[in-house]
Symmetry: C2
Subunit: 370 residues, 2 copies
């Protein structure tokens, strides 16, 4: 039988993603796998053309509008293909018939992926790279030399692998801002209306892998090409209310539940940011007071509230840390395979209590191994 | 609380898709939402880079190989984007640098969608269309004039909307066969090795919406282009074992559970076909003996074992049928919005018992309204 304690154990999931979901959301999903009361059917067997599902999409969209304070000139879409598909859709859409280069910040692993993919589809220019600093810092606004003629300016707001996060919107207000917010979407207020396009896959703060939220200002798409395959054309999805072809019904339903939780249980993104701030301060405070036992990767000014990335003195000690942490019930703490080390991801659904438990474990571990 | 009877009610889901899932699979999913015992985490919070998930992909792939009897020259992939994405990926991949037209059968609504999408990406030719017969029949092999020089030949094995199904592989053995089997994949033996590429989204016979299975012969991809966006390049997905970017972990896990059920509980696709045959015979027998009360859409020789499409004398009577059916606990019987009427979809997870109950309801309804 399924014990509530089993669900509660998920709050100790510090994975970089797919990550933790709120306990109350997991309980609702369990119920919905058997039956969604309004429909008499499992969530997995409900038609994507049903009135019930149209309401799910509408409410999820409205909740995101409310959480971000978006005006009616924005569309909110639920697509497939992850951020990776957006890496291509953005230049395919916005660099059509444009000769000027789109400008990209190379702030870490994921912006590198976005740049590689965009290069295949159009003319882009990297205006800043953290490669020479092993992606331990992000640029200040005044370090960037940006062109007012760029078709758009792209960056990743939170670099999940290296644990770096911008504190405020970058770029010029006169050039369309396009931002991959996959790992910090809805984790804090973001001045959404200063962006022309925001995309975020669900599996950090929003829901399960398999759906990606796109927020796009209508005017950005005025000159987009008309000969793209239908599923790569934002217009197809806008016209069809995210039902151009069968959407990932289950994943979108979970996003709805998570946005309800954010709105009604947490109280919105400012309240969420306050909790996230406390979680991050607790963990970074512990690193800073560890006398070099735990060594943060990112420059303190650019530390991410979502992903705390750090090292111990040796790879052997890191392995020991991971193995003892797992025994103690803390999951997903291994760093990204590209850089190793330790990463504690502190997404919305990771509770302050879970972070306090992790901090206690880290204090004890240091006492045993320092 | 969740009652087992609630899960059991899902077996009366006759929807065209997303459709029913086996009761035992729904029970396992409920458990996995709380915790997958081997991992200590909810299925929604497990990393796509974990060893556990690599095993899930490997076993799901192996099960499909076993069910179809595929040799090692085939790749089995789990992608996003549905059949719609395949409508574009196939011509983008196979018509690159080719001047000869790919040949398509226009057998119904869904092959029409495939043709429209393929036309944007390359040179294609429609070799047969059922449009003038309102898609009530499919061509016999000898009706087709096929070119031995076509880069590939494409058709849809089961037309979900009109309820038409091919009885055997169409096309020339010398031209690569590409087939959309979305609505009859793994419902019967299909001589898979006579195909070069088969694709099928999950939400009929395989799992929830959000994942698409592609079976592709390695040699078909020898001359494919190298400049496609990565997620549209079959090679990217082959190299990464369906983990090129974060895959829909949950949907793939459900596909694994369904393939286990097919292999171990049902006993394979031949055994499944036998059950599906009995379900369809029961329902079509009832139509044929109804003295015109229930009027089948498809010519009997081309009737689908998966989707029984029929009309009643008037739209009003059809509405009454749908409303009384729903009251009696039968879901998803409305015909596709493009043609209306009634559609009873008899996918793998719809039990013979559920079809017997529906047949009884239909007999009673006729007695009340004839």
């Amino acid at each position: 039988m399924i014990e509530p304690a089993m669900i509660a154990a998920n709050s100790r999931n510090f994975s970089g993603g797919p990550g933790a979901l709120p306990e109350s959301v997991l309980q609702q999903i369990q119920q919905a796998i058997a039956v969604v009361p309004e429909t008499g059917l499992s969530i997995l067997g409900i038609s994507h053309r049903s009135a019930w599902f149209a309401d799910v999409v509408r409410e999820a969209e409205d909740n995101i509008r409310t959480l971000l304070g978006l005006g009616s000139d924005y569309h909110v879409l639920f697509l497939q293909g992850g951020a990776t598909q957006q890496f291509a859709m953005v230049p395919l859409t916005l660099l059509h018939n444009r000769s000027a280069a789109a400008e990209y910040i190379h702030g870490g692993y994921w912006s590198g992926k976005a740049i590689a993919e965009a290069s295949r589809s159009g003319n882009i220019k990297v205006v800043w790279s953290g490669a020479n600093d092993r992606f331990t810092r992000l640029p200040a606004a005044e370090e960037l030399q940006l062109s007012p003629d760029a078709p758009y300016f792209h960056y990743v707001s939170n670099e999940t692998v290296e644990g770096l996060q911008f504190r405020q919107p970058m770029g010029l207000d006169s050039v369309p801002r396009v931002c991959d917010m996959s790992s910090d979407f809805l984790s804090r207020p973001c001045e959404a209306e200063r962006f022309s396009l925001i995309y975020a896959h669900a599996q950090k703060n929003l829901g399960p892998a398999g759906v990606t939220v796109v927020v796009v200002r209508d005017s950005l798409l005025q000159n987009s090409p008309t000969d793209l395959p239908g599923f790569l054309d934002y217009h197809s999805h806008i016209k069809a209310h995210s039902n151009y072809n069968t959407p990932p019904v289950f994943a979108i339903y979970v996003v709805l539940l998570v946005t309800r939780w954010l709105l009604h249980d947490i109280g919105g993104v400012a309240a969420m940011a306050h909790i996230n701030q406390r979680k991050a301060e607790l963990l970074y405070g512990l690193l800073d007071q560890s006398e070099g036992f735990y060594r943060g990767h990112a420059r303190p000014a650019d530390r991410s509230l979502m992903n705390a990335v750090f090292n111990l003195a040796t790879p052997e000690l890191e392995q020991r840390f991971l193995s003892e942490a797992l025994t103690a019930g803390f999951h997903g703490l291994a760093g990204h395979r590209s850089i190793g080390g330790i990463r504690a991801s502190l997404y919305n659904a990771v509770t302050l209590a879970a972070v306090e438990e992790l901090a206690q474990f880290m204090t004890d571990f240091r006492a045993r191994h320092a």
